[in-house]
């Protein structure tokens, strides 16, 4: 039933249970609460990263500079490892999708493999990002070197923290699987982790493209 129809209902008319307006609630709510909550959180995180992106674009444009000030925006040294990290995160996302599909089919072996690969690749991505930070510092592009590098550190840190949050759920799910849990027990966790990973991949790709505009 469309949202418009719901919001134009005249509730003072016809007391009772109208099955066209209110079908069985269990049937109506096909998504579990956790899935709805997670999707709402995507909205929150999207706003957060979008605002950072907007602020960054405005700073690139020299926003707020008075006429006698020189623009300070400088492109940043671009460690090639970032390309590798991006690929690793894509693979991680793909592994989660694999685990999710296996879960739906009830194939415990594939689910386990996908789960381990998805988590391990995410850990590898984070390790890669930390290495990039080290390389940037060595190249004289640390956090405070330029505003561009400050944005880079901020974005990668917030993105990495989100991934760490995902990894805690991954840890719990993996423990359940290792303890011999059935596919049905972990299906929801795997499902939610998979879409969370896809979301973080999407965020990273957008942020990566934005940062890429400013490489040296």
């Amino acid at each position: 039933m469309g949202i418009v129809r719901r919001l134009t209902e005249k509730p003072w008319l016809a007391p009772g249970l109208d099955s066209s307006i209110d079908p069985d609630p269990d049937g109506l709510r096909t998504l579990p609460a956790a899935a709805v909550g997670l999707r709402l959180y995507f909205g929150v995180a999207t706003i957060m990263f979008m605002l950072i992106a907007v602020v960054m674009v405005m700073r690139m444009d020299g926003h707020g500079l008075s006429t006698d000030q020189q623009p300070d925006w400088k492109p940043m040294f671009w460690p090639p490892l970032l390309w590798v990290n991006t690929g690793v995160l894509m693979l991680s996302s793909a592994a989660w999708e694999w685990a999710r599909a296996a879960g739906r089919r009830g194939q415990m072996e594939s689910l386990r493999a996908g789960l381990v690969a998805g988590g391990a690749l995410a850990v590898a991505f984070l390790a890669g990002q930390l290495t990039v930070w080290r390389q940037l510092e060595d190249a004289g592009c640390g956090l405070t070197a330029t505003t561009m590098s400050a944005f880079f550190y901020l974005i990668t840190a917030l993105h990495g923290l989100h991934l760490l949050g995902g990894l805690t759920v991954w840890g719990r799910t993996t423990l359940k699987v290792v303890a011999g849990g059935e596919a049905a027990e972990v299906e929801q966790s795997v499902d939610l982790c998979a879409i969370y990973w896809h979301f973080l991949l999407l965020v990273w790709l957008v942020m990566f493209s934005l940062l890429l505009l400013n490489r040296r």
């Binding site: 719901r6 919001l7 134009t8 209902e9 005249k10 509730p11 003072w12 007391p15 009772g16 249970l17 307006i21 209110d22 069985d24 609630p25 269990d26 709510r29 579990p32 609460a33 956790a34 709805v36 909550g37 709402l40 959180y41 909205g43 929150v44 995180a45 706003i47 957060m48 605002l51 950072i52 602020v55 405005m58 700073r59 020299g62 926003h63 707020g64 500079l65 008075s66 000030q69 020189q70 623009p71 300070d72 925006w73 956090l143 405070t144 505003t147 400050a150 901020l154 917030l158 929801q188």
Partner: protein
């Protein structure tokens, strides 16, 4: 897959056995609501004392030696931040949102009870970090509640060393807590409504809290980002917001940052924040007026749509707080227009409240008095908002007491009056006891008349050009002596209103122990929270079976019905048989 909170089966509910499990690490939404409320009110009392100290300085400059210029700025800052975020937001959403949503929509609890519990403890941490700044070397920040850089983190601003860091940390922590709570409120409304509770059968209170929670989820990330970036500017030396500048005779290391970006981020949060506070108040006051006037709310659909429209519009008006910061005139025109457009849905709401009262069977009990008081103060504050929404009027008035009078009327006093009304309204359900009506009336009249005595003269001070945030006026040629007399009058009124709140606390605490036992539905209200099998509601709220909803929330004075209200869970063929408990 069904959430446990909408199931009839109560065995899956988490039932704590110990006192600590029940009242400290509780996952019950009612206990969490009380935890949120008590914490918010406690920290709010600190802010109330700060405001009285500020008034003492303004009314009787120099009389209290410990109020130095720095201390005054710190009081201003902490009063504003605590009242807006740690009291109003936390109390309306964490307190009332937590208590009312599950009960009003017929759920057993929030959909994520554990996250809900976590939300409170993280909020408490935010409050403690904030309180810690009072005890840190140099004291809390005195940057003004808007924390504008560059001044807020530069040498010379009070609390530059520790205060500002603790404030930013506390805000970031608060946003985390709010996000956990907000996701819960929204998901619970979407997922856990009982059978028959369609969206348009929800009481206005739930609608107000629901839209405010969505608004908060969209707006608070801006505050989070601003706080984190400013923290980096202060601690690490990045230049997100800090331009190249000379401070205290020294060239700083900052370069190229834009203070205006902070203002945009802050107000992208800050303006929706006004409605994060106002929308729950709008919703709650609608229910108070309808219940105590024994009439259905006039134009229910319009009321709901107005809440949604106000919520959407409030995301597009933030720069009206920045007219004096300088902006492209076309931007000013856009933001002035969008600001004034909000008056339309808001006016619809005000007219509908008045039309609900029209020829109603009005019972002037304390909740109704506060609701009607709210209509006065809100119209008052709303009209002065129309002045300030215009660029040409705002620019000369922006830094004067006119603005202080305006926003205290519209987003300070108005929501607080609703909060008092709501506490009196739901107190019998929450505690099972009734408060003392005489004391409640005394509390109302002193508070209502007192806030007018405080804030009305401020508008005149503003027209005279008395600047806000000034420690002392000194010898200012264009300000007549009468301004000082008005300031003294305001201070005396503020002290009386502040002290009158003791009557409220005495009434609440005394009644909790000694008040007469309350009926389960003393007001004859239709909404579900009044139909619980126990008063106060037990863990799980509803006993073995969830209620089924057959009608909207406003079946008051229905012609032909045996009583002047029909609860939402009474089936159409059960009206004749229904008797109030």
């Amino acid at each position: 897959m069904t959430s446990t909170t909408i199931a009839d089966d109560t065995r899956v509910l988490h039932h704590p056995k110990t006192w600590v499990g029940k009242y400290v690490w509780s996952q019950d939404h009612k206990v969490i609501a009380l935890q949120y409320s008590v914490t918010a009110v406690a920290i709010g009392l600190v802010a109330l004392v700060l405001s009285d100290l500020m008034r003492l300085q303004l009314g009787f400059p120099g009389a209290l030696k410990f109020i130095t210029p720095s201390a005054y700025l710190q009081f201003v800052t902490m009063h504003g931040m605590i009242m807006v975020i740690y009291l109003l937001t936390a109390l309306l959403l964490g307190g009332f949102g937590n208590y009312l949503i599950p009960l009003m929509i017929g759920a057993r609890d929030m959909v994520f009870p554990f996250v809900n519990m976590l939300s409170y403890w993280v909020y408490l941490l935010a409050v403690l970090v904030l309180v810690a700044s009072f005890f840190a070397p140099g004291g809390p920040t005195g940057a003004g509640w808007t924390l504008y850089p560059p001044q807020s983190i530069l040498e010379g601003t009070p609390g530059r060393h520790w205060g500002i860091i603790l404030m930013l940390a506390s805000l970031a922590i608060f946003v985390v807590a709010f996000t956990m709570g907000g996701l819960n409120y929204v998901t619970t409304v979407l997922q856990a409504r009982t059978r028959g509770m369609t969206l348009m059968r929800m009481p206005c209170s739930v609608w107000g809290i629901f839209v405010a929670a969505i608004l908060g989820l969209l707006a608070f990330p801006a505050l989070f980002v601003a706080a984190v970036m400013m923290m980096l500017d202060r601690l690490v030396g990045t230049s997100f917001f800090m331009p190249s500048l000379v401070s205290m005779g020294h060239q700083t290391d900052y370069n190229g940052g834009s203070p205006l970006l902070f203002q945009h981020l802050f107000w992208f949060f800050g303006h929706p924040e006004v409605y994060i506070v106002a929308l729950p108040a709008f919703g709650i006051v609608s229910d108070l007026i309808s219940t105590h006037a024994r009439k259905n709310i006039f134009g229910y659909r319009m009321m709901v749509w107005a809440i949604v429209v106000i919520g959407v519009l409030s995301l597009f008006v933030w720069a009206h707080h920045m007219y004096v910061s300088g902006m492209n005139p076309y931007f000013g025109f856009f933001f002035a227009s969008s600001t004034l457009v909000i008056a339309v849905p808001t006016a619809i709401k005000v007219y509908n409240w008045l039309l609900t009262l029209w020829r109603g069977d009005i019972h002037l009990r304390a909740p109704m008095l506060f609701a009607i008081g709210f209509i006065f103060t809100f119209i008052h504050g709303g009209l002065t908002g129309l002045f300030l929404g215009n660029v040409s009027v705002d620019v000369p008035l922006s830094d004067t007491f006119f603005v202080v009078g305006h926003f205290h009327m519209v987003m300070g006093v108005s929501p607080i009056l609703v909060i008092f009304g709501a506490i009196y309204h739901w107190y019998p359900k929450i505690t099972g006891r009734m408060w003392h009506a005489g004391l409640a009336h005394i509390h109302f009249w002193i508070t209502f008349l007192g806030v007018y005595a405080i804030y009305l003269p401020m508008h005149y001070l503003g027209f005279l050009g008395v600047p806000r945030r000034y420690y002392a006026l000194g010898q200012t040629a264009f300000i007549p002596h009468s301004a000082q007399v008005a300031n003294e009058f305001i201070t005396v009124a503020a002290l009386i209103v502040g002290a009158a709140q003791l009557v409220f606390f005495y009434n609440m605490i005394w009644s909790y122990f000694k008040g007469p036992k309350a009926d389960s539905n003393p007001w004859g209200a239709t909404t579900l929270e009044w139909q619980t099998p126990q008063t106060p509601p037990a863990h799980g709220n509803w006993g073995p079976k969830l209620p089924v909803v057959y009608r909207w929330a406003y079946d008051y004075s229905v012609p032909g019905a045996p009583q002047d209200f029909i609860p939402q869970n009474v089936p159409p063929d059960g009206v004749a048989r229904h008797h109030a408990t």
